[in-house]
Symmetry: C2
Subunit: 262 residues, 2 copies
């Protein structure tokens, strides 16, 4: 099986022009098959404020009403995605910018209303991802760049968690490739002390994870990422790496930097 890197960059990198440019240079220079998934960043909130679109949250989760889905469709699917594509093209990386709606790559359902109506938010139909289109692009040395949007099959675009899209794609593509899933963010990896960038845990196995949980060494915000990582591994992904965007190149090699989960 060919090696494939499924790489996700978060909003903190997107929001910083210099950091993004630096990341894209590293990304473009990697001579390997790869897929990039990007988050949205704060630019949607900023433009939403200018347009008078109120950001609504329930339990820390954004509510996506009609004005908001239009906003994120513009910003994630248009502004952020196409700027990344144009930059990668200038770096000789033949990028193609897509959402989950394009070529029906990522079928999803509008999240069912239970206690809360999250609005136009998508839950990925993980078993139905269309890997053939992505594989055909990768075969032509084209690099998919995916915005965190899906569609419901009824004509609506849906706002969708970028971490979930990354892990869902990584799992689906692991039937065709030997996949390493890399989450790039603004920290050096998973830290035992959130204020100490040198406290990176270099390897997390399931045993180690249970130990860390018992010892309460992990901060709450990181737990969903680790759970997500193990779910990906349980479903075919070879390795998951969580590290700093600046360390991408090293994390495409065997000598990793950041936190390796396997």
């Amino acid at each position: 099986m060919d090696k494939l890197f499924v790489i996700k960059i978060g909003g903190n990198v997107i929001d910083n022009t210099v950091a993004l440019q630096q990341f894209l240079s590293l990304f473009a220079s990697a001579d390997a098959k790869k897929v990039l998934i990007h988050g949205g960043g704060k630019i949607a909130t900023k433009i939403g404020d200018q347009l008078g679109i109120e950001s609504k949250y329930i339990n820390g989760r954004r509510i996506t009403d009609e004005a908001t889905i239009d906003l994120v469709t513009m910003v994630y699917g248009g502004l952020v995605n196409k700027k990344i594509v144009a930059q990668l093209q200038s770096l000789n990386c033949n990028a193609i910018g897509l959402t989950g709606a394009d070529a029906n790559i990522i079928p999803a359902v509008k999240r069912p209303v239970r206690d809360v109506d999250y609005g136009f938010v998508g839950d990925v139909k993980t078993g139905e991802i269309n890997t053939a289109v992505l594989a055909a692009l990768l075969q032509q040395n084209i690099t998919p760049v995916i915005a965190p949007l899906t569609h419901d099959g009824n004509g609506h675009v849906l706002n969708t968690n970028a971490d979930t899209i990354a892990s869902s794609l990584a799992v689906a593509l692991s039937e065709l490739y030997d996949v390493r899933l890399i989450y790039c963010f603004e920290k050096n990896g998973i830290l035992t002390d959130i204020n100490d960038e040198d406290s990176v845990i270099s390897l997390i196995t399931k045993e180690k994870y249970n130990q860390l949980l018992e010892d309460k060494k992990l901060f709450d915000g990181i737990l969903p990422k680790i759970d997500n990582a193990f779910a990906a591994i349980d479903n075919g992904v070879s390795e998951v790496l969580i590290g700093h965007a600046d360390d991408l190149l090293q994390n495409l090699t065997a000598t990793t930097k950041g936190t390796l989960i396997k």
Copy 2:
């Protein structure tokens, strides 16, 4: 050679939700290989006004400064393009939304500054269009939906005339397909009397065109479209049809409605 329809819809259809929905239903129902190119419509101006981005024109042509290219990248490449894709997906048409930057399909240059600096406006490098990617998609029964944006190879997105993109793609793809280029707009075709929708000229040949020009039977606004059409035909496109968006289905058959140029 397989038949291919390269179809362009203008801003008047984009701006009208009902007309767009109706057009997309017709488009989706056409059992043929096809490419859709869409214009921008007035929505960019409307959102630009809300964001305080001034629309600047010189000689009737929009000047695309940095704020404006971001605006049209959002609106054309994101909002308009992805909404069309999601709607087509719901109509069982496997659409993929792209700009000219994606997979480097439409290389372009930033328009050179002579008397006027048009800003981030692209002139298509007509000889360098990458038809292989589009052909591979069409082969998989995927329908490309193209927003009027290109890139300059230096990391910038460029605002680009949708009519030109349509004719450039039609010409390039005529090496692989028997191409009919269809311009859909809000009139029944090319009219001898702009106020009489029944005055459609059903066929324009070069001889007929010269005669119409001599008799001053054509209004100025339509001349670039006709010149564009003949340029396409001179470069390999089989036929060009200019007609009403509502007449699309008939215009995919031999018994055309609207103005056929050949």
